[in-house]
């Protein structure tokens, strides 16, 4: 019987490329979630995540600077 991409990813056949990816450390549930989204949503989610990371990085930098100033 033909299996859907989701079924293949959630229950990979032993020795398959999907099983190999899981052994490598790839979180296959994330792939399943991404496949449910449209290509546009996948890119928009990427943009949001990158912008959050940039903001987080800036906050860490500010916090380090404040700590340095307090130590002085």
């Amino acid at each position: 019987m033909k299996r859907t991409p989701e079924e293949k990813l959630l229950n990979p056949r032993p020795g398959s490329k999907i099983a190999e990816a899981a052994e490598f450390g790839i979180d296959l549930t994330l792939l399943v979630e991404n496949l449910k989204k449209s290509p546009a949503q996948r890119i928009k989610d990427n943009d949001a995540a990158i912008n959050d990371l940039v903001e987080f990085e800036a906050a860490v930098k500010r916090a380090r600077q404040t700590t340095k100033e307090k130590v002085r």
Binding site: I18, L28, A40, R42
Partner: protein, 163 residues
Amino acid sequence: MISLFKAVRLLAAADVEFVIVGGVAVRSHGSGYLTQDLDICYSRTRSNLEKLAEALRPLNPRPRGFPDELPFIWDWTTLQNGTNFTFKTSLCDIDLLGEVAGIGDYTKVLANSSEMDFDGFKARILSINGLIIAKETAGREKDKAGLQELYALRAAIENGLDQ
């Protein structure tokens, strides 16, 4: 704010002949890979260079790593004088590739691409097979996890590869 999505939409709206390659293509196919630059392979015909230069002009592109104090002329002849470029723009970093390692020039990349719908516009994306070839050819350590995801996606999506 970085917006790869807006950059793709802008190029598509300007009718530029391009194929999305690299991280955005990997992501478009369903990978969880995060990327902050847009890599495209573009047709190097004069009319396309003109369209590409005009489309990107509002984003004030400048070569990455190029000193801010030095003047930089942006027009289609700038693109004609090279093949591969790395630009920073007001939306995101954009890399323009005249060819992709392991695949070839725009014509060959185009033949290995498919059209994807982006909720309102269409753009061409390098196929999973094409991305695998490009990443295997590059042989970079940082691509290993991405390659595993691509192998898994190919096996999940394509018929007859459930092994």
